[in-house]
């Protein structure tokens, strides 16, 4: 049983995000980067499946050298080896181009039974890459998975849907995106951290994956970020003092003319 876990390194959820005017990325100085919390559920599930059924867990990410910290977290938890996709050609990848690169890497790896990833990354919250990868590979997928039982050639899963849960049996190979509640991720242990140092980590370029110049990075993307901005700050409330007869007409007028809510 081979499970591939797709991960992403993201800013810690406690980060105070700052945006520099006119730039298309957040100010990354002094930011603490972590393994995307939903990907932790995916990694934990893959490791649990390996512990029960045998086989191996391969972690895969697209990211710069720094992203190896997140890879090492997954390896320290118990994943067996890792693939990192890196190189100038990937710069500016959107969800589509990222999914394409990951799908190519998975095809190259081959012989997989299951692909797991978080339901979304907590930085851009787009929740697209997992499902896109499944589409590109032509395999079935299910999102928001909160329970997963691996059977013979198929998995039985429970996923969250609006107002309830849905149970499905899906033929393998397939892709699942993990929702909170799927499991309780283990902590990377000290011996795990030391073992992770010796685990194999391959770095592949767009060329290694057979991606042409127009298929990767900004050139292979369908979308581009034009600008980032902070949400407008909430203005202080207005207080009206005086007799009700005097102030109610004023408030009503402002609600109609300024706030435009009545």
């Amino acid at each position: 049983m081979k499970t591939i876990v797709l991960i992403k390194q993201v800013p810690d959820t406690e980060t105070k995000v700052k945006v520099n005017p006119g730039e298309t990325d957040i100010n990354r100085e002094g930011i603490n980067l972590v393994l995307n919390p939903y990907d932790e559920f995916a990694a934990e599930e893959a490791i649990k499946i390996k512990e029960a059924k045998g086989g191996e867990v391969v972690v895969c990410t697209l990211g710069e050298k720094k992203a190896e910290e997140a890879i090492r977290t997954a390896l320290a938890m118990g994943a067996d080896r890792a693939i990192r996709l890196d190189g100038e050609a990937f710069a500016g990848s959107d969800n589509y181009a990222t999914a394409k690169a990951l799908a190519k890497a998975i095809e190259k790896e081959g012989d997989y039974d299951l692909i797991l990833c978080g339901k979304q990354a907590v930085d851009d919250d787009s929740a697209q890459v997992g499902t896109l990868v499944a589409e590109m590979l032509g395999i079935p997928s299910a999102s928001l998975v909160i329970n997963c039982e691996v059977g013979d050639g198929s998995v039985t899963i429970t996923r969250e849907i609006e107002g309830g849960n849905q149970e499905l049996e899906i033929a393998m190979p397939c892709l699942l995106t993990a929702q909170k509640g799927l499991n309780e991720p283990r902590y990377p242990s000290l011996p795990g951290i030391m073992k992770a140092k010796r685990k194999k980590l391959d770095v592949l370029s767009a060329g290694d994956l057979g991606l042409g110049a127009d298929e990767a990075g900004a050139a292979g993307s369908k979308t581009a970020i034009k600008e980032l901005s902070m949400p407008p700050e909430r203005k202080a409330g207005q207080v009206f003092e005086g007799e009700p007869e005097e102030i109610v007409p004023k408030v009503a007028q402002l609600l109609r003319e300024e706030a435009k809510v009545i």
Binding site: E29, G30, E69, R72, T73, Y187, L190, M194
Partner: protein, 615 residues
């Protein structure tokens, strides 16, 4: 209110100030580690401490250790977390790889431990004592003793203690009366020990006591004391825990704080059946025990740091949340905006005291940890120097460092006002829990005597001289500093006052006024601590100044306005700016106390000796 650990400061000290990567690359035991390893261990240890250990703190305080019929039970949550913590390897970051430990440098272990200690100090004692206990057996035990105990103590399967204190022998450990009678290869132990931490609990299925006792016919005083391994349960042939060894807990203390840590009265050999194994040679026990004591004293300082820094972070958060009063300049304006109390000058002064004390202490403790690691250097001169520095700094870290912990709890409580005095906020428990650190492992008065009576004159004063020469070299290289020269001027005056006081003590030591240095040992320790902390903060300020200038250059900030913008916007610039302010605050506001302390000592006043107190 969330517990926060100042990771940025830890990284600054390790990599920008001490450059541990470079230091460890030259030591065989550590040369295969990289910064990535250190970072990941510290990150994951902190993560575990904040998520898993911190919730134990309130439980330990309110439920606490329970004693019934000779048995001590701890809350179930303690047992669950102890299992998880030991399984994850966090009890043995720096322990020998030979016995299953991580083999990491002491500095990395200490950096990780700051979070564990801040999270729940009463829970962590068992872990820390086992590590120290194991280190003694490793250093001085026989091959068989090491094989029997070290692996299990490292994994946390068994825990360890140190049994010194007796009802009649506390600070004066040489007066102890626990007896050891040779019986075949082993000894029969009998006597009562008290104030023994974690000597009875239900976290592990065996507890390994290191017991100081006097062999029949041994000389009086500390030269007649031997050290024994006394397991709670005897060891079976196959190495597992076997039948009880006549070691019984007589009760636990009801303490002001640290309720989650059982402080036990231990009766050894009430039925004449308690067997112990000698460590090393007879009558050398105190030397072996000091191996553990010195580490334990640095751990006490770490407790002062961890809890003091936790208090700072609690107070800092509270000061931003609590809205009370108006800007003092608007006090006559009833309609002025109400402001967070962090705007009030007195609150800022309190926070700065805590900040400068804890950041200076963190630097000092990690420096001492580095010296501990340098004892493994292949170069004898490096080892000797490290040994001298540790000798001088250990009583400062223990005595001055634990006082800082309590002082910070006090200041943090004042920032919280009435709420701080309630159990609803965490500083109240921190204050009760940190107090004991200035009492155990040799109370702070003893630390002062150790410094004045033994360490100042050690090796004919050469150990102290070695430290002073480092300080002098640093001053000579920087005293004409473009922007920090005024700090150096203030610092140099304090250093000179300290040196003058040492000379005065040497002169008095040769006369009948020998009691004057003894009487003034505590003020001396406090003054010495101020100078040591100022030295650490000043080193940080020099580095921070250089780094901040580099950021200004990089961002083309030439005038004050542009620089202020950079300091506000860039997290690194904020950090370095604050470092310089922190050093300045300490040197201009706290360090001047040195001259008044020295003036008081110079008075050589005998009133405290001459007063009649049995009135």
């Amino acid at each position: 209110m969330a517990l926060k650990i100042n990771r940025r400061d830890i990284d600054f000290i390790l990599y920008e100030q001490l450059d541990v990567e470079k230091a460890y690359a030259e030591i065989d035991d550590f040369k295969d580690f990289t910064r990535e390893d250190y970072d990941m261990v510290i990150t994951e240890a902190h993560n575990f401490a904040l998520k898993e250990v911190e919730p134990l703190n309130a439980i330990g305080d309110t439920v606490g250790a329970k004693f019934e019929n000779g048995v001590v039970t701890l809350p179930q949550e303690f047992k669950d977390t102890y299992r998880k913590l030991t399984e994850n390897g966090w009890a043995s970051i720096g322990s020998s790889p030979e016995y299953g430990g991580g083999g990491f440098p002491t500095s990395v272990g200490i950096a990780a431990s700051e979070a564990f200690t801040a999270a729940c100090v009463s829970f962590m004692f068992t872990v820390g004592l086992s590590r120290g206990n194991c280190a003694v057996i490793e250093e001085f035990g026989t091959e068989e003793q090491k094989a029997t105990f070290c692996e299990k103590l490292t994994s946390g399967e068994w825990s360890g203690t140190m049994c010194l204190t007796e009802p009649g022998a506390g600070t004066a450990v040489g007066d102890l009366s626990t007896r050891a009678v040779k019986d075949g290869d082993e000894y029969l132990i009998s006597g009562t020990k008290c104030f023994i931490t974690s000597a009875e609990h239900d976290l592990t299925d065996n507890i390994i006591h290191l017991v100081l006792a006097r062999v029949e016919g041994a000389p009086k005083g500390i030269k007649g004391i031997s050290l024994f391994i006394v397991p709670k349960n005897r060891i079976n042939e196959d190495g597992t825990a076997g039948e009880p060894n006549d070691v019984v807990c007589g009760g636990i203390e009801h303490k002001m704080g640290l309720h989650g840590s059982p402080t036990c009265v231990m009766n050894f050999g009430e039925n004449g059946r308690c067997r112990g194994q000698l460590i090393g040679e007879e009558n050398k026990g105190i030397v072996y025990m000091f191996h553990m004591m010195n580490e334990a004293r640095i751990s006490c300082g770490l407790q002062g740091l961890a809890q003091g820094a936790a208090c700072l972070e609690y107070a800092r958060q509270y000061a931003h949340e609590r809205i009370q009063g108006v800007d003092i300049r608007e006090m006559r304006n009833a309609y002025a905006e109400r402001v967070p109390i962090v705007n009030h000058p007195d609150i800022r002064r309190s926070l700065m005291l805590m900040k400068s004390y804890t950041e200076g202490l963190r630097s000092l403790i990690l420096f001492a940890a580095l010296q501990t690691d340098l004892l493994k250097s292949g170069d004898k001169a490096v080892r000797d120097k490290a040994d001298d520095l540790l000798a001088i700094l250990t009583p400062v870290i223990k005595g001055y460092g634990t006082d800082i912990g309590f002082k910070c709890a006090d200041l943090a409580m004042m920032v919280h006002g009435g709420y701080g005095y309630t159990a609803e906020y965490p500083v109240e428990q921190q204050m009760r829990d940190v107090k004991a650190a200035s009492i155990y492992e040799g109370c702070n008065g003893i630390q002062a005597l150790d410094l004045v009576g033994r360490k100042l004159g050690m090796k004919g004063g050469m150990a102290l001289m070695s430290y002073l020469m480092d300080i002098n070299q640093f001053v000579a290289a920087n005293e004409k500093h473009e922007s920090l020269a005024p700090l150096f001027k203030q610092f140099t005056a304090a250093r000179d006052a300290l040196v003058g006081c040492v000379t005065q003590f040497q002169q008095l030591g040769a006369t009948k006024e020998v009691l004057i240095p003894v009487l003034n040992a505590t003020p001396f320790l406090n003054m010495f601590g101020h100078v040591v902390l100022a030295y650490n903060l000043l080193q940080q300020a020099v580095i921070a100044n250089e780094k901040l200038d580099a950021i200004f250059d990089e961002k083309d900030a030439a005038d004050d306005e542009a620089k202020n913008e950079v300091v506000k916007d860039s997290p690194n610039a904020t950090f370095y700016h604050n470092k310089i302010k922190t050093a300045s605050f300490f040197i201009f506001n706290v360090l001047p106390e040195v001259s008044s302390i020295v003036a008081a000592i110079r008075n050589a006043d005998r009133s405290a000796l001459d007063v009649i107190l049995d009135y």
